[in-house]
Symmetry: D2
Subunit: 243 residues, 4 copies
């Protein structure tokens, strides 16, 4: 059975800025969900404006992988919902964190760092080099993905050393960035993918959609969803007799 | 100049349980602070009962490495103080997390996982094998440290894969555990060290004290204390002319 | 299509020692190949005694994953064949290294370390604890695998820090060991699995066979087999005009 | 006592090419050794042309850290000497591998991979961004080092995932590269540092010299030099009585 991906979006820019609405008439979430549905996933969407931001326990329980886009409304996400999502990841739900969502409550809670970085909006060229060619998230991608125009993110990127750095970006203005990074938290897998400013049509790009589909496949953890717990156990061996 | 180590203790067992008070008449914090002072560190102590748990901004600013012991009062630590401590670590303060403090707010906030594990109180023998012999935290320690009696901690230990596993424990009752683990968060270094139940005289042990001193040295990050921040930057190269 | 697994064995003990021959009448390679065939893999075998040890370029080209067992005849493996195998791994062939093959030329060439360890033959109990529960190699395995009797391997184990430590062993005699370790070299994946002394019926054990099958699945790298090479490339950007 | 650094150079370009000789009249080794001596290290040099390439057991035994530069004469290094050097690293000698020495026998033997990469000679600008700001090798270095002109190295770089990536390079022509990488092999530490083509005055650069000094300090492993060995051990616990 295909994994179920829920695409979450704060959905603010698209409703307030015509240029963004023109690029993403159904919201960034709509574009990504369609792209993943086309590639064989079960999909759903949820947004900030819905009750509990559309991320009830029931929704999370049905979700194999959550895609998360947020930018100017990070603080409007309720703490309780952010922790519910983080706990779902710790229990085995996959998480794909996009672009400015490095500053989201969920990502910070799971990574333990600030997620801060350098940035610049100068409509420059970016080249995402594949730095781990056999990683499943790079499957079908050539040696690099070229994007233009993009917002720039630069190092240092305040995250724990990733388990894998699948993509490293080159920017026209002179910087580099770890743009595709993997971590594990509890039973759940996390992929951060840098591209995606709301004023650029990046999520309509076929290679970007391919990476998202690869990442959704990779981030799916089979088996029951289970938050690790303390467990008091009996000894396996006799204690105390041969001292 | 010697690093300044502040030893923090919830300081509950010692005041409520005569057996613990007999083992640690000045509190676990007192014993550890004395051991570190004997080994050349500047030391201070702080406890849960003090205003702001003794962990004001001023105290943290003077602290190179914080040692943290907590067990039954994890929930009584104020969220604001826990986040202040975690931010100090992200800014470059070292942190040594002892024993049951795997379940502390500070450790969970920095690691992003539950810190849960298997456990058993059966007064059994433990052997901490050095699994990274050239790590500075193992300096001067033989191939293993033997302790008895100890509380058991067993795998799976719900933490992100450590950067280094300096010690791996064998338990008489049949389990293993990653008992000495290193992580980095932001500019700060974290060392978790398993030994230390309040009913055992473990912090009086010379080898244990040596490991704590090694860890305090290792966890000291020189240079200014700085929380990583977002930074908007100018391009280093001309953008847009050779497309 | 099912991956093709070639099981290589030095095949010396079984021909010289009746006790071993009784345990493994078709050789250790025969037992393992049968177990993998039962689990759906295409299988082949090869041994030291064959021309080029049965590991011609043609055989390696057809092999998705090579299982390697060696013990007393490590030095009899021709250097050229060992390097051919190591190059096949660098090109994308998976490798499963069993037990005493930590001292094989192939493993040492790929890891860059001595592979040395502590050891003891005392017919003791071993418990392999799953220390990375969501790793695909642990799929279907309970919290630990118990084996008895086994040969003991103890730390320090002279290998580069593994990418994953799927199993950590407890031994009755008091030691611990990283018994299931993953590394990547070039395009190829490597899994070391500790159990397996020739005088114990360990490869007949169902859980051990399950781990081997999981590992063979995990170690299969899809796509063309390609040894990374130097490549002289043209610039993507104009050089030298905007200095 | 200051660590002793031996700087090894194949010393071919400087003797055959006037332009290189003008840049490095005492050889690349001479320039680097002088820079390290100025920064307080004991230094020595050795070259390909000396008996045993100047790397006798006696020389290696006195060397805390070996700096290695090689390019067109990689194959002229005797296998036995290359393995002697690699064994010294496994025993605890530090190793700093420069530029094209990624293809040296020593580096390949220790890493287990081909060390291959993309490259281009186009006299372009390079910017080495510090991607691990608190690493001791980056001490005193600003957010990046800018070099011009340089030879380009591009990803994928065929090495095992480094323990630390201290520097990541941006190149004017459009590529990125992991230019400062750390690994451990046995008791020894390895640092690869990318800058350094023989036709560029890069080793005269003050920041480059500072990185080399930081790396020499970091790569020094205190304690006796010891190659890990197999060890047959007695049990710590009684075996077989409580089954």
């Amino acid at each position: 059975m295909a994994p179920t991906v829920t695409v979450w979006n704060e959905f603010v820019h698209e409703r307030e800025d015509d240029a963004v609405a023109d690029l993403y008439p159904d919201g960034i979430h709509g574009t990504i969900a369609d792209a993943l549905a086309d590639r064989g996933f079960e999909t759903a969407t949820a947004t900030l404006q819905e009750p509990e931001h559309g991320l009830t326990e029931a929704v999370l329980a049905e979700t194999d992988v959550l895609v998360w886009w947020s930018h100017i409304a990070q603080d409007e996400v309720e703490d309780a919902v952010a922790e519910r999502v983080a706990d779902a990841v710790r229990s085995g739900m996959g998480l794909i964190v996009l672009h400015s969502a490095v500053l989201s409550k969920v990502f910070r809670s799971l990574l333990g760092t600030t997620g801060t970085l350098k940035w610049r909006e100068a409509d420059e060229r970016e080249r995402l080099w594949v730095t781990e060619p056999t990683h499943p998230i790079a499957d079908g991608i050539d040696e690099c993905i070229e994007l233009e125009p993009t917002e720039m993110y630069g190092e240092p990127f305040d995250v724990p050393t990733p388990d894998s750095v699948v993509f490293t970006s080159w920017f026209e203005g002179g910087e580099v960035f770890r743009s595709g990074c993997c971590w594990q938290r509890g039973r759940g897998k996390i992929f951060f993918f840098r591209p995606g400013h709301e004023t650029h049509p990046i999520y309509h790009d076929d290679e970007i959609q391919q990476v998202l589909a690869n990442a959704a496949e990779w981030a799916t953890t089979p088996g029951e969803r289970e938050l690790p717990t303390l467990e008091n156990v009996e000894p396996r061996e006799k204690i105390g007799d041969d001292d």
